[in-house]
């Protein structure tokens, strides 16, 4: 490879990428989501999914859950950078493999097709807490809650059975047991 002519060095360090789930407690004020998301885009971090809603109306606290990938160094930086934002109260970060933490994502799946296929679809969803939210002669809307990769798998599988529309929330997380993250 010819040496690039640049005022900057070429990247030399390539680390292993880990998937992490960040939970960020923020003041629910104008622009706060833009600050968090802008931090990720501005510094070149990746967002796989994002879920956000107010969780404490009296204290005006929103909880943002972000799934991201990065080298351990980048993950560390994301956490420290998030903590620097003025409206951020606390930041938790979990490895996806962390057994002490529950990760869940919800999806709405619309399947259009004949009865047989609809029944097959329902059966396929069996282990993911399916709830039928709407049903007609030709269609069904199923709600499932599962891990991200399980929903990925289901979307693939249900394509053949008439899946026409998918809506997903992005992962949310909570620790197991009585402990609360401080």
């Amino acid at each position: 490879m010819a040496s690039p002519k640049s005022a900057y060095s070429i990247p030399t360090k390539k680390g292993k990428l880990d998937t992490h789930i960040f939970v960020v407690w923020v003041d629910n004020e104008a622009g706060v989501l833009a600050r968090v998301v802008g931090l990720f885009s501005g510094r070149g971090y990746n967002i796989e999914s994002l879920a956000v809603a107010e969780v404490d109306a009296t204290k005006n606290i929103s909880r943002i859950t972000i799934v991201t990938t990065g080298t351990p160094q980048v993950i560390d930086q994301i956490k420290l950078q998030l903590k620097k934002l003025v409206p951020v109260h606390k930041v938790a970060d979990f490895k996806r493999e962390d057994k002490k933490v529950i990760f869940k994502e919800m999806a709405l799946l619309k399947i259009v097709g004949e009865k047989k296929k609809i029944e097959k679809s329902l059966k396929a969803c069996r282990s993911y807490n399916p709830v039928i939210l709407d049903k007609s002669n030709k269609s069904v809307v199923i709600q499932i809650t599962a891990l991200r990769r399980e929903i990925d798998k289901m979307s693939k599988k249900l394509k053949a059975l008439g899946l026409t529309s998918t809506s997903r929330t992005g992962a949310i997380a909570m620790t197991r047991g009585a402990e609360v993250f401080k």
Binding site: S3, Y8, S9, G31, A34, R35, K83, K84, L85, V86
Partner: protein
């Protein structure tokens, strides 16, 4: 019931409570209520700039030289967008600025109204925090918080966007609460065991080096005092980044010069070969580290910084101490003195070989250059300027480029806050308005902008500001008719294809000075240089000094990007021998 104040009055009440003396600004439709209120507040003086970027840089110069936050006041739309460069500059170099911008009335926000822009959206990535005030009741609290955020922890710029109707609306005013914690964002919680570990590393080191940065300056003059005491106590060699110059005396024997891309041979080699590296208030910038995976390969690394996100961002360190530089150093000195285990003496013996090595590197005289009788060498010009001003308390600002590096290399700073330069962002056009701000903060001191002719033209309009307020700033232009640093890179990396780096049709700087109503001086040969510099210094008023220098001079020494510290190019001769011309070793 307490008195109601308008939003505009509250802005000034808050500024008064924060002991603000100067505002740098430019009026416009959306800030007129605030400008209308100005006349009622005699303790606050407004400095009218000629472009909002100038206001931002002037406020930066004011802040960096005085240690107080700089205040900027601009209108909506173009007023706000023009100040973005200065905000970004302040963000990169950790300068506390409070920018107040006007905004269209709240009911017009989002309608593409005249001079409307999404100011908080645009400035979000270049401020520590910003606020759009939508309710007059929030205004006093937001303004106090703005000062708190800008000045605590790692300092930086903030922006408060105030719609015009909010400036008219009325509410109660409450004074700032002194003890309020800003959401736990100020980090100063280092432990004594960290200090013990640091002392342990210090006592074991055989080849140590201290590398200081702008954090020492930001920690205040007391931090520089502490640093001097600390460095003399342990006897270690000390180098500094561009932003840290002046924290330790530049003419002291323990100071081994600036490090990094254009740093000295001894500083960079010491960084490469050391066994203990103590980073105090610097951030391992890429202009400092060179090639990351060959950066200081044999050393234990200590990083003292108030910003936790600076730790391990670029270079993994062995010991991180998150805290205010002044407090960390003082508590280290205290511990060392208390221990009385002979650390001072024994350590100085241990590192005597290391000092011998450093002396050997010093003999290379890496800042040397071939002087000339016919043309003024830019390095020579800076050296003469230093010699002729060093007895006075001189403040230096710079633009960005070769002249900036020559100033950093050849002007020796003995006190903190005397050196204002755009390091992180590298903003051409910084120096002139910054000099305006410095002179405002220090009316009786000599303030010199060491400039390049290309940079200075970017904000030359601020000469008008200097003349209006009779600020005797000296613009010392090293005029080589090129964007010198661009030309240097083109010469070394792009086969001397000087694409668009030559400035044709430059103005006559003497006439330009006269057009602004100030003095113009031109020097074109080395013989007249000293006399002309003296003339500049002795003139009681602003001066543009056109110093016509050798256009082909390059800035050495230099670490080519992508090379480690021990592979420097020392000068033109060194270059001819190997590194640059060798095909396989083309610079990266």
């Amino acid at each position: 019931m307490s008195k109601l104040y308008s939003g505009a009055e509250i802005v000034f009440k808050c500024l008064e409570d924060q002991d603000v003396e100067f505002i740098f600004g430019y009026p416009g439709g959306a800030v007129l209520p605030i400008y209308d209120e100005l006349k009622n507040h005699s303790s606050i003086k407004h400095i009218l700039v000629r472009h909002e970027q100038g206001a931002g840089h002037a406020a930066e110069g004011y802040a960096r030289s005085s240690g107080k936050p700089g205040i900027v006041l601009v209108t909506s739309g173009p007023g706000a967008t023009n100040v973005v460069t200065a905000l970004t500059d302040a963000y990169m170099d950790s300068v506390p600025l409070i920018c107040i911008s006007g905004q269209v009335p709240t009911h017009l926000i989002g309608t593409d109204a005249f001079q409307e822009c999404d100011t908080t959206g645009i400035t979000r990535p270049c401020t520590k925090h910003n606020w759009l005030v939508k309710d007059i009741k929030d205004l006093p609290k937001i303004l106090h918080e703005a000062f708190e955020v800008a000045t605590t922890g790692r300092p930086g710029p903030v922006l408060v966007d105030i719609p015009k109707d909010i400036q008219f609306a009325k509410t109660n005013y409450s004074k700032p609460k002194k003890t309020k914690k800003s959401n736990g964002k100020s980090h100063n919680k280092f432990s004594q065991s960290d200090i013990n570990e640091l002392i342990n590393l210090i006592s074991k080191a055989k080849k140590p080096v201290i590398y200081t940065g702008g954090g020492v300056i930001n920690s205040g003059p007391k931090a520089s005092e502490a640093l001097r005491e600390f460095v003399r106590l342990i006897g270690f060699p000390i180098t500094s980044t561009l932003q840290g110059l002046g924290a330790f005396p530049g003419d002291d024997n323990q100071f081994i010069g600036m490090l990094g891309m254009h740093g000295t041979y001894e500083a960079n080699n010491a960084m490469h070969d050391c066994d203990l590296l103590i980073n105090i208030g610097a951030r391992f910038d890429d202009r400092i580290t060179g090639k990351i995976d060959e950066f200081s390969p044999k050393s234990k690394k200590v990083h003292i910084d108030i910003d936790p996100s600076s730790i391990n961002k670029i270079i993994k360190v062995d010991l991180a101490i998150v805290g205010d530089v002044n407090e960390v150093i003082r508590s280290t000195i205290k511990k060392i003195n208390k221990k009385q285990n002979g650390i001072k003496v024994s350590n100085k013996q241990k590192i005597s070989k290391w000092w011998e090595q450093i002396q050997k590197w010093r003999t290379k005289d890496s800042l040397g250059f071939v002087n000339s009788d016919e043309t003024i060498k830019p390095q020579h010009a800076v050296q003469r300027l230093y010699e002729l001003t060093k007895t006075q308390d001189t403040f230096i600002t710079t633009e960005v480029g070769q002249h900036q590096m020559w100033a950093a290399q050849h002007y020796k700073f003995n006190k903190p806050n005397r050196w204002m330069t755009s390091g992180g962002l590298g903003t051409m056009g910084y120096g002139l308005p910054a000099a305006v701000g410095v002179q405002i903060a220090h009316p009786d001191k000599i303030v010199i902008d060491i400039a390049g002719e290309a940079s200075v033209l970017m904000t030359i309009q601020e000469m008008s500001t200097a003349v209006q307020y009779n600020l005797p700033i000296k613009i010392f232009v090293l005029n080589n008719q090129y964007m010198g640093m661009v030309r240097q890179w083109q010469e070394l990396l792009h086969e001397k294809n000087y694409s668009e780096s030559y400035s044709e049709a430059l103005p006559d700087f003497v006439k330009l000075a006269e057009a602004y109503g100030c003095k113009g001086i031109k020097a074109s040969n080395p013989e007249e240089l000293d006399e002309k510099i003296k003339e500049m210094i002795n003139h009681n008023g602003p001066v543009i000094f056109d110093c016509q220098v050798d256009p082909n001079e390059n800035c050495f020494p230099m670490i080519p990007s992508g090379k480690p510290h021990n592979q420097m190019i020392l000068g033109p001769n060194d270059k001819a021998e190997n590194k640059i011309t060798g095909k396989g070793k083309a610079l990266v």
